[in-house]
């Protein structure tokens, strides 16, 4: 299927999901669905570097938090524009504030993408476990910076007061429905980008990096440039996933935003779904995300990480290539390539 057809199909599927969620008339569905969609974006973003290129990134929470705190900072500037936007440049910028959530998503993506590029430049000469440790260190460094950055609330956190609802193209939507729609669109875009990469020259290059970097270079693949592209795209999507979060949760603080669940989930979901295809993170995120939401309301949110851990161990043992790998093995056993 051509990439543009896939994108249209993904958007159509997103519209159907949104219509069904509206028809269900349950705010909870939007709250829970938002989290699942957020993990689809995070898992897809992680997979661009971790799955396609084979570089395991434990810094998802850092990029997610970059998006979150970009929103917090710009929201604060927007609500006090008279104070923070002074001088000629400030007066020119004032009419742009307060920024809409889609604008914040794009700006967060740019900031996280640039930081992803920088991180890539500093760390991509490292491989394997050393790279993974470096990404974890990035998360720790950024968390320390945010804790000490008073403008965004520091360690005490920051409150974001959102509107009750808003009208989009004549439709009156509750704010959570609006955020759900934004995350749905973002998930569709992330999946389309992942699918586009997978079948492209870039995707072949990423696969060779995952398989054998020395052989890739010998085949003419500019591995360092491609890895920088991967860290930038991956970081940008993670940042975009974090941008609407302050409006969703209402209160953000560093311990929660840089929390372990983001790093663990975004690694586990593609691993369980399968890392070599765009569908793997989607399947993993839907499966794990839904299970976690069910566990949260039926048992306790404390079992979420336990669920992830148990499933990850099970899959590593019985299906190291994830659900997609199981399907491909089954097809191959039936003589289909």
């Amino acid at each position: 299927m051509r990439p543009w057809k896939f994108s249209l199909l993904t958007l159509a599927a997103g519209a159907v999901v949104f219509a069904l969620a509206l028809a269900a008339r349950s705010d909870y569905l939007f709250f829970a669905g938002y989290v699942v969609l957020q993990f689809i974006v995070l898992a897809t973003a992680w997979n661009i570097l971790g799955g396609y290129c084979g570089y395991v990134n434990f810094g998802t929470a850092a990029f997610f938090a970059i998006g979150t705190y970009t929103t917090v900072a710009l929201h604060k500037i927007g609500t006090n524009s008279g104070r923070y936007l002074s001088g000629t440049a400030g007066e020119l910028l004032q009419p742009l504030f307060p920024l809409s959530v889609p604008t914040l998503v794009i700006l967060s993506g740019v900031v996280a993408g640039v930081i992803g590029l920088g991180m890539g430049y500093l760390t991509l000469r490292l491989r394997g476990v050393f790279f993974a440790i470096a990404t974890l260190a990035l998360a720790v460094v950024l968390q320390t910076l945010v804790i000490n950055w008073d403008f965004v609330g520091g360690s005490r956190g920051a409150y974001i007061i959102r509107d009750e609802g808003l009208a989009v193209a004549g439709f009156k939507l509750g704010y959570i429905q609006y955020l759900f729609a934004i995350m749905l669109l973002l998930a569709a875009v992330a999946l389309s980008v992942a699918r586009l990469i997978e079948g492209s020259r870039l995707g072949y290059g990423f696969a060779t990096i995952r398989d054998d970097e020395t052989a890739a270079e010998a085949a003419g693949v500019p591995t360092l440039r491609l890895k920088l592209i991967a860290t930038t795209i991956s970081g940008a999507f993670m940042g975009m996933a974090g941008a609407p979060y302050p409006y969703y949760i209402g209160y953000v603080e560093p311990a929660g935003t840089f929390g372990l669940p983001y790093a663990v989930n975004s690694v586990a979901m593609p691993m369980i779904g399968g890392t070599t295809s765009w569908a793997g993170p989607l399947i993993g995120a839907m499966l794990l995300g839904s299970m976690q939401q069910i566990a949260t309301v039926t048992i306790s949110s404390a079992v979420n990480l336990l669920l992830v851990g148990v499933l990850l161990v099970v899959f590593v043992v019985i299906a190291p290539n994830g659900i997609i790998g199981l399907v491909l093995d089954w097809r191959r056993s039936r003589g289909k390539p």
Partner: protein
């Protein structure tokens, strides 16, 4: 006199205190078939790695088609027409046999948009290359399904896919049977007839002697002989160091 395609002058490489290569001078003329031999640990693969950019040399210069290669990453050297096969085959295991060839075609021969992947002419070229090495029946298989000789053929086909001016075949025949060696030699001869200059690194003397127009010998990181194969194998230093007494 024709200008050399590859010029190596005073090349040196150390690993800590170990001198892997010292003062290597080597010229290879366009269209030539050069055999490079030497005992294990003599520095053959290190020399290839320095020429191809997998390792950087501390001293000396490498020029290819008149251009200095020093400091250039491996992929740029491949773009310039310098391709290699590895001593131990290193296929892209997650890609099919045909896709293994698609990579150099996409990145070396047809460098256009990063988002374009599979025009029909690429598929056709992949098939031609696979036919050339006798792997056309296995285009959609994974490299893990291939035999030893097929894996080596894939390794050579991937190097050829980059449309090189110079191909360095690093022990392309190791572990193969008599008839399989004949297959590979015939393939290399065909490539050479198409105008590709070839450096063959090999331990199998029968293959080296039948293939090479010129032979260079490395011993303990130094070049001890360079000349016609029949003269080189009778060189006393080569006999002492390489063939034994």
């Amino acid at each position: 006199m024709t200008a050399p395609l590859l010029e190596v002058k005073g090349l040196a490489k150390r690993f800590g205190g170990f001198v892997a290569l010292e003062g290597i001078d080597l010229d290879v003329a366009p269209g030539e078939r050069l055999g490079l031999i030497g005992p294990n640990g003599s520095g053959k693969s290190t020399l290839v790695n320095c020429v191809c950019g997998t390792l950087y040399n501390e001293m000396g210069t490498v020029r290819f088609a008149g251009q200095a290669l020093d400091g250039l990453p491996a992929h740029q050297r491949t773009h310039m027409g310098l391709a290699r096969s590895f001593q131990l085959p290193r296929p892209f295991v997650s890609l099919s046999v045909a896709d293994n060839l698609r990579v150099p075609l996409l990145y070396t021969v047809r460098r256009r948009s990063l988002l374009i992947s599979s025009p029909a002419d690429l598929d056709e070229r992949c098939f031609e290359l696979l036919q050339q090495v006798g792997l056309d029946g296995k285009a959609r298989r994974r490299p893990s399904d291939l035999t030893q000789v097929e894996m080596r053929k894939l390794e050579l086909a991937r190097a050829i896919a980059a449309e090189p001016k110079l191909l360095i075949a690093d022990e392309a025949m190791a572990g193969l049977s008599h008839s399989e060696i004949e297959d590979i030699i015939a393939l290399l001869m065909r490539l050479n007839a198409q105008g590709i200059t070839i450096i063959l690194i090999e331990h199998i003397m029968r293959a080296v002697m039948s293939f090479s127009q010129r032979l260079a010998v490395l011993v303990s990181g130094r070049k001890v002989a360079d000349g016609k194969p029949e003269d080189v194998v009778n060189n006393p230093e080569v006999v002492r160091a390489y063939l034994g007494q």
